[in-house]
Symmetry: D5
Subunit: 148 residues, 10 copies
Amino acid sequence: MSERVKRELSQLGRSASIPENPDKAVLETFENPHPDVHYVVRLKAPEFTCLCPITGQPDFATIIVDYVPGKWILESKSFKLFLGSFRNTGIFHEDGTVYIHKRLKEALDPVYLRVIGFWNVRGGISIDVAVESGRLPENCRPLPIRQD
Amino acid sequence: MSERVKRELSQLGRSASIPENPDKAVLETFENPHPDVHYVVRLKAPEFTCLCPITGQPDFATIIVDYVPGKWILESKSFKLFLGSFRNTGIFHEDGTVYIHKRLKEALDPVYLRVIGFWNVRGGISIDVAVESGRLPENCRPLPIRQD
Amino acid sequence: MSERVKRELSQLGRSASIPENPDKAVLETFENPHPDVHYVVRLKAPEFTCLCPITGQPDFATIIVDYVPGKWILESKSFKLFLGSFRNTGIFHEDGTVYIHKRLKEALDPVYLRVIGFWNVRGGISIDVAVESGRLPENCRPLPIRQD
Amino acid sequence: MSERVKRELSQLGRSASIPENPDKAVLETFENPHPDVHYVVRLKAPEFTCLCPITGQPDFATIIVDYVPGKWILESKSFKLFLGSFRNTGIFHEDGTVYIHKRLKEALDPVYLRVIGFWNVRGGISIDVAVESGRLPENCRPLPIRQD
Amino acid sequence: MSERVKRELSQLGRSASIPENPDKAVLETFENPHPDVHYVVRLKAPEFTCLCPITGQPDFATIIVDYVPGKWILESKSFKLFLGSFRNTGIFHEDGTVYIHKRLKEALDPVYLRVIGFWNVRGGISIDVAVESGRLPENCRPLPIRQD
Amino acid sequence: MSERVKRELSQLGRSASIPENPDKAVLETFENPHPDVHYVVRLKAPEFTCLCPITGQPDFATIIVDYVPGKWILESKSFKLFLGSFRNTGIFHEDGTVYIHKRLKEALDPVYLRVIGFWNVRGGISIDVAVESGRLPENCRPLPIRQD
Amino acid sequence: MSERVKRELSQLGRSASIPENPDKAVLETFENPHPDVHYVVRLKAPEFTCLCPITGQPDFATIIVDYVPGKWILESKSFKLFLGSFRNTGIFHEDGTVYIHKRLKEALDPVYLRVIGFWNVRGGISIDVAVESGRLPENCRPLPIRQD
Amino acid sequence: MSERVKRELSQLGRSASIPENPDKAVLETFENPHPDVHYVVRLKAPEFTCLCPITGQPDFATIIVDYVPGKWILESKSFKLFLGSFRNTGIFHEDGTVYIHKRLKEALDPVYLRVIGFWNVRGGISIDVAVESGRLPENCRPLPIRQD
Amino acid sequence: MSERVKRELSQLGRSASIPENPDKAVLETFENPHPDVHYVVRLKAPEFTCLCPITGQPDFATIIVDYVPGKWILESKSFKLFLGSFRNTGIFHEDGTVYIHKRLKEALDPVYLRVIGFWNVRGGISIDVAVESGRLPENCRPLPIRQD
Amino acid sequence: MSERVKRELSQLGRSASIPENPDKAVLETFENPHPDVHYVVRLKAPEFTCLCPITGQPDFATIIVDYVPGKWILESKSFKLFLGSFRNTGIFHEDGTVYIHKRLKEALDPVYLRVIGFWNVRGGISIDVAVESGRLPENCRPLPIRQD
Ligand SMILES: [Ca+2]
Ligand SMILES: [Ca+2]
Ligand SMILES: [Ca+2]
Ligand SMILES: [Ca+2]
Ligand SMILES: [Ca+2]
Ligand SMILES: [Ca+2]
Ligand SMILES: [Ca+2]
Ligand SMILES: [Ca+2]
Ligand SMILES: [Ca+2]
Ligand SMILES: [Ca+2]
Ligand SMILES: [Ca+2]
Ligand SMILES: [Ca+2]
Ligand SMILES: [Ca+2]
Ligand SMILES: [Ca+2]
Ligand SMILES: [Ca+2]
Ligand SMILES: [Ca+2]
């Protein structure tokens, strides 16, 4: 593993505070150390929370990201802070999931990207939203999804 | 997220009573905030109940809806009230599941729509019914089904 | 098994309609064929539903009954109809569970009785209520509870 | 739902005895209320039992039926009685599963039909048999199988 | 292990047919090879079936037996045939479970005995019955019960 | 169920905003409709979140409350708002769980009270904290805990 | 079911001893009663054991066989004895699984055949081996695999 | 950790062959490094196999050992070889479990000892046997049992 | 929550390296903010690893700590570093678990303390070790254990 | 099974120490005994650990390898030592998984190869990485993945 990567990610070992809202959060990346190989990366974040834009009540979700990196890899601490920035933001399930997909697509310019939000039950009904873009290259099978 | 959506859905934070029967229930929608993106939405409702049209005894089911929105998103509270309106209605498993599919298709005019009813055991036998219409666009994989 | 029991329960094989409300429902019993033995009976009913007395919205629960019969055994079809009679009745979780316990105690006069209601999530919070009376005789261990 | 269907199925609310053997059992059907829609129906019967034709010992199985109705829907009570008629009949696992498939095909004339028998362990080995006919139309995905 | 036990159980390796009814079934035993030790034996039989004495419809149950042997051990093949003899017998859940307990108590004269019947759902309600006699000696903890 | 209870809880059907912090949140109660019966109530809230007082990073927990009511029952919507008020408050796992216990004890004056916090993994280690007060009366068995 | 099949399998009800090694074991078959239908048969044997050819220590595995019968059906008791014959035989995981596949292919001449061995953990690592031959005919979907 | 223990157990890193039968197997021990502390040790062996003494067919079991060491600790490799020595030995479930208990008691002279055998299903019935001796000292709770 | 606690734990937000071995690791504590209340704290660490003192091969375990604090609370980051310090240390299962118990007892001087190590399978056998000291005060029930 | 294979793998029964780092570890192979058959081999290693290259803290993962052998089979003990050599090596999740794939590809020259790393949660987020090369031949279906 290269020394360059260590320098790029020098804030990984340091503390950082949650951004005020998603627009202020920065998604950091580092260079894909294997740009010649197509592979699939999954990040699973079961601790997502935001607010209902109508009632102001908290909503909770698990966010799954599957992507095939192009030139860039998502730095997971900045992703955690990005997700944390929704904490006091009002947003609908569908809108929020599509927004996360859009931000990751901008930041990573990946070969393939899927974002899934599994939102907790409200009024006896749960909602899941899946947004996908790009195309899976040969030799890139998405991992199975256990979340229901 | 737009202010318009908030106005459209102004009844989300207000109380509402269960319609007398499914024909009287109104399925509300709001405008898809991302009509340029194909994505999959799942609603899972494990608290569905109606009556057997022959014996008058209660039946119970879990209803799963998967759809790819076109211009409209299903407002989940109106969907909850719609499902609640079957409470004192007599309907067969097959007929009820197809009816829900038909009503959602009319209300949403979606790119793709699947309704599945998982009906509880009666006489040692359970019945599941799955009704599907439209075609999944590229980049729209249905989420896995855990219900048995 | 005695012929007398068959006569007592002559409505088991016949159809019956759901009583209008719990006060109108009759809990039937038949004579304990083994009054000299202390044993434990559990009935588990995962298909209970009633209405919230404030909002009128449907509530759902699993009801578990554990009892040590004295002179009487609960006839399960009349119990099913009794539970079905809550369908359009407004009642709180705590109140409803205690009421079921009270009605069973009156009907069965059992040596021991426990009623547990496991009520589905509302607003991200589930509520369980357990009401117990009498005392477990020697050689009567309650079966474990898997419901969560 | 139509009044005609109620008349067709007038025996649903009445008692009926188990046929002596599968050849004497009648599989009843009622008219598909939605012949213009292709949909999938699953019946799952975990309480199947018959006898080993060699040793006379009881065998147990779960039977799963998946079909796409054409003109007819399977009436589930007659299906239960049909399965019950194997109770004192000797039949091998493979033979029995294929026989059930054949009888359902005759009775339903379905667009697609699959019968699976999951037979309990004997001598440390379990046997599953799956028989399929017809072709799944567009928009008809079989539901997943959880049985192992 | 003693040669005597082999002679006593000489029918274990031979075929045997299901008795016509429980009264005609014989529960065989063999001598406890360790009468000086108190230990717990569990037999679990998930393939029990009988008939409803009112409707004639099949019922299904899992039977669990826990006992501390005195002078005798239950021969498991004769127990299997005993359970098989209920196949065409009409009996209620409570009555059947107590009857099995009574027959085992007579045949084994055990230090402690518990019989539990876990009966499948009928009309949305399952019934479990537990009958216990004798007293657990020191150093005899019953194994946990996973059945629900 | 009494009309008085409905009046007392008149805000249940109305919207309410999350208090700024736990000290500003009010835990509402209503009169126990069955003060003569000892019974156990469990509330399970899997959507608790607060902040680490050192790093400012979000923490997540499931909160379980078991209590035997005396004169008062906890109104669950005010409990939800109370839990929601920790959202932007920094507090340690042990301190937070004991604080919730103290507030509930003050508000409910219950016969028995247990609060358990199951806190999510941090640095590969999860922490659970259980605080209990009072004494379980006869006929009050706590329900089993499935959380791990 | 035909009388001929009963004669062919006359040893099913009789005792038989474990062959000394796999080469001495005979895989028996009987005629496929439905040669005109393509269907899938699965045998699952979780009680396989052999020896490590290097260390002589026992190895354990679950063996799953999926096949589409041609003219012949595998007689399951001879298959059990065949698997039992590995008990004191040294063989590697890969070699053993391929050998079982080869023997079944010779004995059954099936339309399709897959053998999977799920071998227990050794040194913190488990090994699974899957060998497949032939081609699944139309209307023959392999059952899902739950083994991990 | 002491150097003495390493010398005592010098065969742990070396290969060893399975003893011909249980009587020839030696259960090795090493000195309890903490004889002043009462603690509980569990060994779980899911790969036990022996033969049925009547039919010669293989039997399979999971063996669980719980003990409170006195002066000696059980060396786990010698325990593995001891269990392996049953491979070609005919023994009944009850007899085998009691025999393992007796051998461990002789070898370890423990403060408390429990041996449980969970034997696989034969003829649709599984058998578990639990043998316990000694008394659990204060501060020694047995770990829960998940095996069913 | 007090400012003093924040100062005491000022290294929580800072990086720290793994100690060379357990003897060099320091278990830090902070003052129990509720010394007047008896409560139970559980720490669960599924990522423990050390070396076999004989073969040098890695061992893996889950460590569970249950304690009733007296004057001190265990700081979880120092506990993580303490567990990490076993990474290149050779120690037996029994010895290691007792050692962890001893170190925690010294550092915390708790009212009650239990340490359980669930060690992964080696040679087909897993080992669990449980060490307990002190006495559970009134109102302190240990949480259930799910680990197997 | 050939004698040659036994000679090739003569170190399987002997002890070996963990290599200092992955570059020093040797992946051993033996000749595929069935080069004429295409089959799938899976190795699952749930005990992988390395260090974070930035913070020096331990990371944990489960590594799954699926391959279709060409001329060579992976010797599993050398694979275990190879994985063990990461113990004190700093490497990122993505980089480490791709590195393992590269080394296996070099050593095995397989027809098809997939390496998946399931890395434990850090900061509330887990990461999985899947790297695949070659093409699955006909009759080679990858086994399902249960890891989540
Ligand atoms: Ca929404
Ligand atoms: Ca969900
Ligand atoms: Ca129907
Ligand atoms: Ca179902
Ligand atoms: Ca619940
Ligand atoms: Ca057969
Ligand atoms: Ca099965
Ligand atoms: Ca049950
Ligand atoms: Ca803390
Ligand atoms: Ca937890
Ligand atoms: Ca091998
Ligand atoms: Ca496995
Ligand atoms: Ca036996
Ligand atoms: Ca078992
Ligand atoms: Ca374990
Ligand atoms: Ca994972």
